[in-house]
Subunit: 348 residues, 2 copies
């Protein structure tokens, strides 16, 4: 029964504890603690014996106890939507960024019966020390109350006041890149499907409008309502298809929306990019699929994750107080859905 990990030194049932390891090696608990924290103050020999005993016992440090005692969780909570490919990219990038600095990630997915508020509550209960929000629509006032207690980074949304940091790409500039690209190809009739009231959509819309203006295409400016889903792109496309004259290019709210546009056009036998060029936004995984091959505006998820974690560390470990608004450059990624318009097309 000596190696049975389900009965520990004191005869209790359950997983082995530090005490069990200490007892087995014949040293104090403190030493075991030292070893597991990689702290100095234990001989190489002891270290090795401790680790071996732990392995034999199947010992694993108990996070709950550590959190309680250290009075620090080193948890970063992440609020996000599993259904948005960009969010998934971001979350995947947050893991290594956080781990490199000794922090753990706790996920709080929202959607389908779990709203922002619930997710925040849960992350708070788990003693998260900071939070990264992506694509949430949580009210600013509500957020401010939480931000009093911990660092918060909102991805894509800038806030007033000193409590919430922002990491975002210059969305207006991104939209301008899209329009500039299309105009440089010769397009003039460029429609924008926008993201309704969702995060960043106002800036993208404004960037589109400004760019059109600057190119002397104010008269061609046209915004169709949409959101960040495939269905909205499909719906907007159907509206376009019902009109007597097609635009020569569509700039969609994001990649998912663009996907809806592409598929709807394909099924209507409209050739992309032959008849219509399409530009998305995000450069999420979907845009890179060989058969989508979408020209889009890249938001560097890895870099954003890095900056977000960095901003949190600055507050947590270096005492920064004032807000930061970290604005990254978007980049145009030209793929297969854009091309000069057909001569003789609707390009007035």
């Amino acid at each position: 029964m000596d190696t049975d990990s389900t009965v520990n030194a004191s005869g209790r049932l359950g997983r082995p504890t530090m005490r069990d390891v200490a007892a087995r090696v014949g040293v104090s608990q403190t030493l075991v603690s030292l070893v597991f924290r990689n702290a100095p103050g234990a001989s190489a020999q002891t270290r090795e014996r401790v680790l071996r005993a732990a392995a034999e016992l199947g010992y694993r440090p108990d996070t709950a106890a550590q959190v309680l005692r250290r009075n620090r969780s080193r948890h970063i909570g992440v609020l996000f939507t599993m259904r948005q490919p960009f969010d998934v990219d971001l979350v995947e990038a947050i893991y290594p960024a956080a781990e490199r600095r000794g922090y753990h990630v706790v996920l709080g997915p929202i959607g389908a019966g779990r709203d922002d508020q619930q997710a925040v509550e849960e992350l708070l209960a788990y003693r998260s020390e900071a939070m990264i929000l992506s694509g949430t629509t949580i009210a600013a006032a509500q957020l401010a109350r939480v931000a009093d207690q911990m660092p918060i980074v909102d991805i894509g949304r800038r806030h007033t006041g000193d409590s919430v940091d922002a990491v975002r790409v210059a969305d207006e500039r991104g939209a301008r890149l899209a329009v500039d690209h299309l105009v440089s190809l010769g397009h003039r009739s460029i429609v924008h499907i926008d993201g309704g009231g969702l995060p960043a959509s106002a800036q993208r819309r404004r960037g589109y409008q400004q760019a059109m203006l600057r190119h002397g295409l104010a008269g061609q400016t046209r915004v169709l309502p949409g959101d960040y889903t495939e269905e909205s792109g499909a719906a907007a496309s159907r509206r376009i298809l019902n009109e007597e004259e097609l635009p020569t290019a569509v700039f969609a709210a994001n990649d998912r929306c663009a996907h809806g546009v592409l598929d709807t056009l394909a099924r209507a036998r409209i050739d992309v990019p032959g008849d219509i060029s399409v530009v998305g936004y995000d450069d999420s995984e979907i845009a890179r699929l060989s058969f989508i091959d979408l020209t889009t505006i890249r938001q560097d998820a890895a870099l954003m994750a890095e900056q977000a974690v960095q901003a949190i560390i600055e507050r947590l470990d270096h005492g920064r107080i004032e807000a930061r608004d970290i604005v990254l450059d978007p980049a145009l990624v030209v793929r297969g859905t854009t091309r000069p318009p057909r001569s003789g097309s609707a390009n007035k």
Copy 2:
């Protein structure tokens, strides 16, 4: 400074504790604990005063301390892939199922630099009492070691031995449903794109083969290699398109794969369902998009989540020891991608 929640009763910095609440009301900590656990033994009056004081202080129970003291986390760890729509459906359904029974969900996403092993380690460190795995390829032997210590439910994979439960749909039957449907429409030339070595794919392939056999179509049986991604569907479609004669129907490994098929065919001006019918598998969100409108085999994610959680409760709270293999019925969902083959087509 009385209501300043950042300085508690004993002058320490940090979030308010139970002691702070107790001090403010002038009762013992025990009572506050009772109230927050909804345990009997406190007058309605006290109860109310405690709750009010807690609200004023912004008090929130500390999960780490609760876990430590109760010696139970009531956490269920979930290993999954954020990139598989079906997994996302499942995870979303696990939340309410677990909460209804007083359990919490802890997510361990895998992919992009985080393998199964790491995720499992993390969930163990957080004292998860049980785990649900979806779509993992973790080795059975490795899993068995973990399963000795806690209940494990593998979604979609059946295991030998008594330690791992399975919740799955009868995939062979699901595949048969797909083939039967196509045959009943008049199809004979039906190709299957399979899921390589991924979970459940062997059963689907076998179901396809058996159904073809039963319909006297053994000679038409044809399996193209693939996996559970859009790209594999696209690649297989390109192969099909390069042949002199098209099949009249394609049964894809899953919805994502089918999506790759649909888009590739559409771009090649092949009409679905006019020229080729397509059936997917999973009935994930993507299949329901209006412009995809995919005929598919439904795996009821909500029901599977419910059964998985139920299986865990049985082990955890009712001491079940022997393994359960819970097999659910798949269902055919007919949408817009299937139709009788054109007369005069390749239907030999």
